[in-house]
Symmetry: C2
Subunit: 358 residues, 2 copies
């Protein structure tokens, strides 16, 4: 039997509920494929702030770092919204991303036939959307130096950040994107703002230079403002998108809303070696926390990504993906994806149904 | 009779066609309100590159600078896409914005009842959308220093830009936004990324501090990734949005596509004093240039903004706005907004119809 250490970081809000459900599904899918898991659950975010006063306690980071893969719930909440910057729950995410060096953030956005009507886009526009956004996660304006707020020579307050990319940072995320596109429909769109930003000019140059190593992938370039439009005009045109940290933040959220079911969307953050970080793209939804209303499918599908991308266990991953589709086909829906004619269930019941189908 | 000097900068692609039509409409609306215009037409962008080798010739800038208001067509085209940076048509836009100090970019995005079906959003989501995006236009990462591409100490190529805002830059755009919201439905949403960027933390602080001077305006804050989602989920929630240069670039294009008719959307760029710059938000559309297919309404409505915001001539502006609605009500449509049951017309005929109604 293969054994894996899995770090569970439930975090805040609905995090604990969806993690507890996803853990059971992960365990079941694994055991049917001869995998055993040792789970270690650790506090992060607001939960950790309340417990020990820092967003990412050393023991939590250590458990994550030494695991084979990490499943995270969600982070943040109104309660800590006015904390000083270094005491904000979100800092846990930055530290995790940075210190685990998970530079490649994979965010699929697809519209399932069962959920087409959840989109605010017209049926004919939303139907069949199936894209993967590859977002650079450990560089760019999120981490660039210098940054800060200071008083300048005129006695005026100024705020500044640095968008920064080194060639190797662009190359490694571009390679992940080319490989991803190759396993999908072979189309890669690199999004930048090369008509304005120097960092984007370098980005486009490096991505373009790599294209000859991937002759089976069709590369195109698009400005970020146009991409924000095209996602709405005709999202089906996209297969794989690669872009920098901040543009990826904006466009992946936009793309997720196009599917209309952000309660369904998982993500994976991967480095060169070491554990990957897997989490739903939705937030901690404090307003429905603890009410058994959350949709656990995004976290369950994140567990599938954990199996596939984190542990290389494609069969067990497929079990979970199929079980989710099966459960949707049977008509089970949490509130966020409910439409008349289906069965409204809570977080736990949805989890139990998926478990039956695994 | 009042006389005004108007600089016409047709630019590239469909620019000359839409400017020529809009000029006639402007002249007519003005003359019915006792205004006279002296037009001076000057080359910018690719047209100027072809003519004299620079994107913004000194004489063109001088004519613009000394005018009472500037009407611009569109800039750019495939032909110059591989030019070196300082020889790209878009540079004309940067120089104009920077040197005219037009820091406030007003971009309305509304869905006309006549054109609701042009949106890819469901009718019930698109219907009634009516927002104004106030974008900071002369600061932020577009102009921040240091910027460039260089070889670092390890011999590696790196690209970088600086997001930079001084307090006064934030204050002046925030004031424009508060004033704008006050004249609309009294709701202002400031969009930033204050959970990540120092420049955004200062942004939020300054905008918040000004709120007490505008007690009649309801101020809210939203992260840019969430804003990109909310624009799709429920665009009607927005009245006035204020944001920085790069977020404004992305979100205003997204908002424009939500209306489904970017051939309809005008914009105004205003400074403290000196002429404002008025232009359609659409591009130069080189693929349909010279074929009399372009939709001139965005430029015609930009002429209305020119009258209203540039010259303070609200009556003449209203004439143009009403004439456009009238023409749409009569069923005239260019190809981009055509739907069965209406009359398909070209750029010139559309212009002639609006002219009749002025
Ligand atoms: C919470 C926030 C700091 C984070 C980000 O901007 O990266 C989130 O939006 C995300 O996309 O994971
Ligand atoms: C052409 C381009 C440089 C410009 C910008 O990014 O500002 C355009 O997208 C706009 O929004 O006016």
């Amino acid at each position: 039997k293969k054994r894996f250490n899995i770090a569970l970081l439930p975090g805040d809000g609905i995090g604990p509920e969806v993690i507890s459900v996803a853990k059971n599904v992960l365990q079941q899918a694994g055991s049917l494929e001869g995998l055993e898991f040792d789970f270690q659950e650790m506090p992060v975010g607001g939960a950790a702030l309340d417990l020990v006063g820092v967003p990412l306690p050393e023991e939590s980071f250590k458990a994550a770092k030494e695991s084979d893969a990490i499943l995270l719930g969600a982070i943040g909440g109104y309660k800590w919204d006015n904390n000083e910057k270094h005491l904000r729950p979100e800092m846990a995410l930055f530290y995790l991303r940075r210190d685990l060096k998970v530079f490649a953030n994979l965010r699929p956005a697809s519209v399932l036939p069962q959920l087409v009507d959840a989109s605010t886009l017209k049926r004919e526009v939303a139907e069949g959307v199936d894209m993967m956004i590859v977002r650079e996660l450990t560089g760019g304006i999120y981490f660039g130096e210098p940054r800060g707020i200071k008083i300048n020579e005129n006695g005026e307050e100024v705020g500044f950040n640095t968008e920064f990319y080194a060639a190797h940072e662009i190359d490694r995320i571009a390679r992940v994107a080319f490989e991803t596109a190759r396993k999908r429909r072979g189309k890669l769109c690199s999004v930048d703002k090369a008509n304005v930003l120097d960092a984007s000019i370098l980005w486009r140059k490096r991505v373009t230079a790599l294209a000859s190593e991937y002759p089976d992938v069709e590369l195109s370039h698009m400005y970020v403002d146009n991409a924000a439009m095209q996602l709405i005009r005709d999202p089906k045109q996209f297969d794989t998108i690669v872009t920098n940290n901040i543009f990826g933040d904006i466009l992946s959220d936009e793309a997720s809303m196009i599917t209309g079911s952000i309660g369904m969307l998982p993500s994976a953050s991967l480095g060169v070696s070491g554990p990957g970080l897997f989490e739903p793209i939705h937030g901690s939804a404090p307003d429905i926390a603890g009410q058994d209303k959350a949709n656990p499918l995004a976290t369950i599908l994140s567990a599938a990504m954990l199996l596939k991308y984190g542990l290389g266990e494609e069969k067990a991953a497929k079990r979970i993906e199929d079980a989710v589709l099966d459960t949707l086909n049977k008509g089970f829906r949490t509130g966020d994806i409910y439409s008349p004619g289906n069965k409204l269930v809570g977080c736990k019941e949805m989890g139990a149904e998926v478990l039956k189908s695994v």
